[in-house]
Each structure stands twice: as C-alpha cells, then as structure tokens.
Amino acid sequence: MPRTPEVKPSILRPGGKAPEFTLHTTPDQTVSLKDFRGRPVVLAFYPADWSPVCADQMGLYAQVMPEFKKFEAEVLGISVDGIWSHLAFSKDRRLNFPLLADFEPKGAVSRAYGVYESRTGESARALFVIDPKGTIRWSFLSPDGVNPGADGILSALEKLE
C-alpha cells in the first residue's frame, strides 16, 4: 500500500470565522452551524464512536450538559462515523446532544477546521467554542490519546459572557 504523506493538522485558531457546514445527524435530519446563531456552540471532534471506556469524552459531556446549558451552549459531537453508528452509539451511551456524521465527503468538515488526521483517517480530539456570532473564540487540539475533559470548554464559555 502506498504510504500517504503524513499531514499534521493545523487547527483553526481563535478570532476567525467558524467554517459553515451542514451534516447529517439522522437519516432524514441535518444540522447546520448557522442554525445556532445567537447561541454559543461547542464543537467536539473525536476519533470514533465506541471507544472502549465507559465515561468517554462524549459520555462525559452528556453528564456535564447541565453546566453547558447554564451558558445556553449547544454541544455538537463530530466524527467520521456514519449516522447508523452514531445513532446506536448515542443510544447506548444515553447522549443528550447530536452527533454529526462527517462521512461524505469523508472528513471534509474536520479538514476545514484543521483537525483531520490523515494517518488514521479520523478526526483528532479537538474542541472549538464558537460565539453567538459565529466566531471561533477558543480551540484546543488534544495530544494523542488524551481525552480533554470539559474544564477548558467551561472556562472558554465563561469568557464569552
């Protein structure tokens, strides 16, 4: 198999406009970033559904949701998994926010945010806090294998106030 050149993702920095997107969350429903204008949005890119830990990144955010809601923030999980995987994963982990399928063309939104790992064909673990006007106010690319938790997101949301 030919070796694809490794392209290190270069994550979008705060201050710029968040790239628009529309992605499927169920077979007949899509979610667009612009739907949430007027509210802060947390974008949580993650490598894959079904990581083998119980309180994984998405499960943690579901548990922390009451804190995010204090800022009226919307949380959107994004990975390259397809909608059927997302639906099963979401049900299994009792997630209370949408998971978006960055599936076709694969990883396009992850690439637009500079968080696509071409080596693995997955999104990196990366977080963005977008303000009510659609500007990126905080971004974080997690080191390999480290689940970032929710502390950075909450601090960034606090600073929007």
């Binding site: 830990v53 119980c54 309180a55 579901a62 548990q63 804190e67 009792r94 938790g149």
Partner: protein, 184 residues
C-alpha cells in the same frame, strides 16, 4: 504554537472536607475521582490498595465522587450510601465494601447487612439515601472534578496534577515517587 502540554490541575484543594486515608502530613497526595459502578474504578480499587501498602506513610489517599449516572444507574445510590456511612464515621469500610461488591449493586440487601455489621444505624443510612441527603456534597465533588479536567473514571491527581498514565501499580508508584507537583 506547539507549547509543551501541561495536564490540568486540581481546582478544589484537598482539605478538611475530604475523605482521606494515610498520614495527614504524607509528602504525596493521590486523589481519585471515582464511580462505584464503573468497572474501571472497580479494577483500579485493588491497585490503589496495593499502592497504599507500598508507599505506606509516604502517601495520603483521597476519594471524591464522580458518578456517571447517565451510564450507571446505581452510581449515585452507591455514592449516597458511602456518604451516609461517612456521616456515621465509616466512610472507608463502606467505600471498600462497595468496590468489592460492585456486581451486587442494584440489590440493597447485601449493603444493608454490611452496614449492620459495621455497627451503623441502617435505618438512618436508608433514610438519608432516600432523601439524597448528601447530593450537594456529591455534586460539589463532581463539579470540582469537571473543573479540574476529570475526563472519565477513574481520574487520578498526584499532588494536584492530573495523572494521564495507566491505572496500574508500577506506573502509579513510579509517578508518585517522582512527585510531579513538587516543583510547582
């Protein structure tokens, strides 16, 4: 741009409010955020016991609640039970019993028997659990964990710095001996 990665730090310092085992003036403090129903915490439980034995008076161990109730329907009940036992001076025996009997969660009877054996007022424990008497404390633990970078269970902090290594005996002992928080 690539600054060195620094793990998050404990935002609520260890203090009087905490359940702690080991010498009060021990040079190293290990804090665990855990969930009594989480199988990974169950697996870490004997590891921590071994680590405590290995380090003896060198180590102080603190347990804080981080129940993942979305995934674990009995996690909050278990946390309430341990806190109710704490109110009668028996936190650690109940903490240990819960982890040693994790598979029995969901059936109250064996836990009531354990409470009786510890000499606790079982009716009081049951009343307090039913009233969620210790929920504010459990929520305070949980939120302090969220703000400190707890990213799943168990999450450990050594001298107030999140430990991102495996919950294994050798790795934990090595890191505790290195004392990463010392230079702060």
């Amino acid at each position: 741009m690539a600054k060195t990665y620094l793990p998050p730090k404990l935002t609520l310092p260890v203090g009087e409010r905490d359940h702690a085992e080991g010498a009060p003036k021990a040079p190293v403090v290990l804090v665990e955020y855990g969930d009594y129903q989480c199988p990974y915490c169950g697996a870490a439980y004997p590891v921590v016991k071994r680590v405590q034995k290995e380090l003896g008076s060198e180590l102080r161990f603190v347990f804080r609640n981080f129940p993942i109730t979305n995934a674990h329907p009995f996690a909050e009940w278990a946390a309430e039970t341990a806190e109710a036992a704490a109110a009668q001076g028996e936190f650690w025996p109940m903490h240990d019993f819960l982890f040693e009997n994790q598979r029995l969660l969901g059936d109250d009877a064996p836990f009531a028997r354990a409470e009786a054996k510890l000499g606790l007022d079982v009716a009081r424990v049951e009343r307090e659990v039913a009233q969620k008497a210790y929920l504010p404390r459990i929520e305070e633990d949980f939120l302090s964990g969220v703000r400190s970078g707890v990213n799943g269970t168990p999450t450990f902090f050594i001298d107030g710095v999140r430990y991102d290594g495996p919950a294994e005996f050798e790795a934990l002992v090595a890191e505790l001996r290195r004392r990463p928080g010392r230079s702060r």
